[in-house]
């Protein structure tokens, strides 16, 4: 569905939404003088959701996708930014307006085992939103609940049963019936099928699809499962460490991804076909960094297989990757020197030059992932020699002078086109020239 929607008014407009959680923020911490630490779960995300479409939000665990969903429903108060629903800022709403918003925007949660109260009958669970908002008379509500249960594929006489009597897929249907009770316009689906088996997942996805057609619903589907996202969504936003790195029509994202992270995600998913074994794929190394202290510049640069070396530097990607990983470890002081120096001393007692060489070689085999061209070898050896004397800063500077990447200096912005990606590879050429002039 690659039609241009720039002239339409979006149903939901999220702009620069920000949600930080604070650690070390208790009274005791303040008395002890500990600085609060920000966990930047969501760090300035913007996107629009148009009426009748499904926007997918995909990313790995801890990237902030669920927090985005909860914050835009105002289940959490944001640290910054705004969400407009039907033209009104959600965070400014009060009283009756807020209640009206709550009727229009609903949620289905991931775990059907913990999101239903085990002491309530199914009828009461689904009726509760109607009770709270005072919809209809008592008999109206009862009929409505029975209709809803039938609509989601359960039987009307299930109203008096308890959640534990149902299977996972059926419970998720109950959750969906509850979300539908108030006839909302917009539903946030937070990993609605990740607790279900594949065959049951397919049932639930088909049901959600039918309901969307029947009631003209707008969905925000949060999921880590790329095949589900592809199957269901019209447009997709890819999140990494609290930021959106790429957003665009589903076809474009899956057929021609522009951000290296999206590419890596797509590459990593094993396909259920016999050709899978021979499929060449490039996996990315490393783990997602902590959102307490995200990397400077582009947040994906610590794992990126396409990190951009300085323009005047001749270096292959594996070499550059190895050097950059070494730099990170030096900058975070994350290298143990003792073990290596012990060994160096043992093997070479007297001559200092020899033991230094042994140290450099020993450490290099431990910390460097690729073998380097002689030119780079020299610089890296010198930096490691600095480490031998524990001159961390000097090693840092020595490497930074030679190898500083544009990716660590500037956080790339989303490009301004119909398939925006936040990556320096897609920077307009003007900006690239600008950085060369000011090294």
């Amino acid at each position: 569905m690659a039609r241009s929607r720039s002239d339409e008014i979006p149903l939901v407009r999220v702009s620069e939404l920000q949600k930080y959680f604070w650690e070390n923020d208790s009274l005791l911490d303040r008395l002890l003088g500990d600085e609060p630490v920000a966990v930047r779960a969501v760090d300035g995300v913007s996107f629009d959701i148009y009426e009748g479409e499904t926007l997918g939000l995909v990313g790995e665990s801890g990237c902030g996708k669920s927090t985005t969903g909860e914050t835009l429903l105002r289940l959490q108060e944001p640290t910054g930014g705004a969400v407009e629903f039907d033209g009104q800022n959600v965070y400014d709403l009060e009283g009756a307006d807020l209640k009206a918003f709550r009727r229009e925007a609903q949620a289905v949660f991931q775990d059907p085992f913990s999101s239903l109260d085990p002491r309530m009958t199914v009828g009461r669970i689904v009726r509760q939103p109607l009770d709270i908002h005072g919809v209809g008379s008592k008999t109206d509500r009862r009929t409505k609940v029975q209709d809803l249960l039938e609509r989601v594929g359960l039987a009307a006489d299930h109203v008096d049963r308890y959640p534990h009597e149902f299977s996972g897929g059926q419970r998720q249907r109950i959750g969906i019936a509850r979300a539908l009770a108030l006839e909302p316009e917009f539903i946030v689906l937070d990993e609605p099928t990740s607790a279900l088996d594949v065959s049951v997942q397919a049932q639930v996805l088909n049901l959600l699809d039918d309901l969307q057609d029947e009631f003209g619903l707008t969905y925000l589907l949060i999921s880590h499962d790329l095949s589900v996202i592809r199957h269901v969504c019209d447009r997709v936003a890819v999140m990494y460490l609290g930021e959106i790195v790429e957003i665009g029509p589903s076809e474009d994202i899956f057929e021609s991804p522009r951000h290296p992270y999206t590419e890596a995600l797509l590459e990593s998913v094993p396909r259920a076909s016999t050709e899978e074994r021979d499929r060449e794929r490039e996996t990315i190394s490393g783990d997602v960094p902590s959102p307490r202290d995200p990397p400077s510049g582009c947040r994906f640069r610590t794992r990126c297989p396409k990190i951009i070396p300085p323009d005047d530097l001749e270096i292959t990607q594996p070499e550059y990757r190895a050097v950059m990983t070494l730099r990170e470890r030096i900058e975070s002081r994350n290298i143990t020197l003792e073990a290596v120096s012990d060994e160096a001393e043992r093997s070479d007692g007297d001559l200092e030059v020899d033991s230094m060489d042994a140290f450099v070689q020993g450490l290099k085999t431990q910390v460097l992932e690729a073998s380097l061209d002689p030119r780079h070898q020299e610089v890296v050896d010198a930096a490691i020699a600095d480490l031998a004397e524990e001159r961390w800063e000097e090693a840092e500077v020595r490497l930074a002078e030679m190898y500083a990447s544009v990716c660590e200096q500037e956080n790339p912005l989303l490009t301004q086109d119909d398939h925006p990606a936040a990556c320096h590879l897609h920077d307009p050429p003007v900006i690239a020239e600008h950085t060369i002039e000011n090294p």
């Binding site: 088909n206 039918d210 143990t336």
Partner: protein, 410 residues
């Protein structure tokens, strides 16, 4: 010749609960060749984990292996037990279920090793990762020094204050030695943990999920096992990390030549890793064969249904084709003597009311399916009338009835 390191014949494992007997695994047979990667795939509750635990003898009470045999083929081990337990040995292989418990437990780590789904809960949070791996090394080392002793030496000892105090005084009471610690660091390096010397001294909470899963693999490799049983090894991990761990397992398999029994619900993981596949449903293997047999030419409607219900990453095709209904109840008194999939099967016929044996299917000689369709073709004339099973249910089986109505919205 393709020799089979592990052969399971007619294995049944049951759980004797207050509400009745649960047939978790029923009359299951499979053959795993040396150096193969064998995948067991199925939905939750299909009995795949119980099968793995039966091999490891890790089935907890009230569960018990009630029938069958598990043949393990290893010359050295066969020679060792021949003397003491002659009736367990047959044709060069040993039936593990004929051995006393202590002998079986001695096989853990050196013959069979297992990695679990959730690495965070599989490690002891109060000991460093290095120490836990070194302990596994040490257990194997001591057992190796005295092969007649079948005691794994982990039982009885625990990390109490008393033992801690003793270990500071008597070096022999220590769980780990310098040598085993060095080996632990080597293992950590082998599984791709950067800076293993330092990481060995860290606690599990300082590791990320992917790193901890690597550490668990390192621990499982401590005894250089013949067979590594991986129970959903990547289910708790993100896709990019999953790809790393799968690559690691494939690499280690190639290096060491060990056999891997991979248990997963993810068909993509199976396609990536496995040479042979067994599809489990309601405690039985309903179809098995080479990867090509099962993925490209499936016979059993359940296998077809599973493959049809995964959304395709490569293209957006209209609707998904789910399998109606749910995994059936496994209570013995509720299971009829019929094909257990018949109530969800789009091609159920009159024959299916009789429990099907395993038929050979077209394709490779390994391809077999527990379905009459392997022998006959589907004919509408013999099809069961719609709603046959929901009517057949009596009121006492309400639980199964609710399960069967799931999918009524399709």
């Amino acid at each position: 010749m393709h020799d089979e390191i592990l052969t399971i014949d007619n294995l049944s494992t049951k759980f004797f609960t207050e509400n009745g007997t649960v047939r978790a695994v029923n009359d299951l047979s499979l053959r795993v060749g040396r150096g193969d990667v064998f995948g067991i795939v199925g939905e939750s509750g299909s009995g795949k984990s119980v099968t793995a635990r039966s091999v490891m003898d890790l089935v907890d009470s009230p569960g018990r292996i009630t029938d069958g045999s598990i043949w393990y083929r290893n010359e050295e081990f066969t020679d060792r037990v021949r003397e003491d337990h002659p009736n367990a040995v047959e044709d060069g292989a040993v039936d593990l279920l004929e051995l006393p418990e202590s002998t079986r437990h001695g096989l853990r780590g050196s013959a069979f090793s297992m990695i679990f789904q959730d690495p965070a809960s599989s490690f002891n949070a109060s000991l460093t990762v290095g120490e836990q791996i070194a302990e596994a090394v040490e257990v194997q080392r001591r057992a190796h020094a005295n092969p007649r002793s079948t005691r794994a030496r982990t039982s009885g000892s625990n990390y109490s204050l008393k033992n801690y105090a003793l270990s500071t005084v008597f070096p022999s009471k220590r769980f780990v030695t310098r040598a085993s610690r060095d080996r632990a660091i080597e293992l950590l390096e082998m599984v791709g943990i950067p800076d293993p010397v330092q990481r060995a001294d860290e606690y599990p909470h300082e590791y990320s999920g992917g790193m901890l899963q690597r550490a668990m693999i390192a621990q499982a490799l401590a005894g250089e096992p013949d067979v590594l049983i991986a129970d959903e090894p990547t289910t708790a991990l993100d896709v990019t990390i999953q790809a790393q761990v799968l690559d690691l397992l494939a690499e280690l398999q190639e290096e060491t030549g060990m056999t891997i029994l991979l248990i997963t619900h993810n068909l993509g993981v199976v396609a990536r890793m496995c040479d042979r596949v067994g599809v489990m449903y309601a405690g039985e293997i309903v179809e098995r064969g080479t990867l090509e047999d099962v993925f490209d030419d499936p016979v059993h409607p359940y296998t077809q249904g599973l493959l049809g219900s995964i959304p395709d990453l490569e293209g957006r095709e209209g609707r998904l084709h789910p399998i109606a209904g749910n995994v059936p109840s496994l209570f013995e008194h509720e299971m009829e003597h019929r094909c257990h999939f018949a109530d969800r099967c789009p091609k159920a016929m009159e024959e299916c009311l009789e429990h099907p044996p395993e038929f050979d299917a077209r394709g490779s000689p390994h391809h077999a399916a527990r379905c009459y369709l392997a022998e006959t073709t589907y004919s509408e004339a013999k099809a069961l009338p719609e709603g046959y099973f929901s009517e057949a249910d009596d009121p006492a089986m309400e639980q199964t009835e609710t399960a069967a109505t799931d999918g009524g919205g399709e």
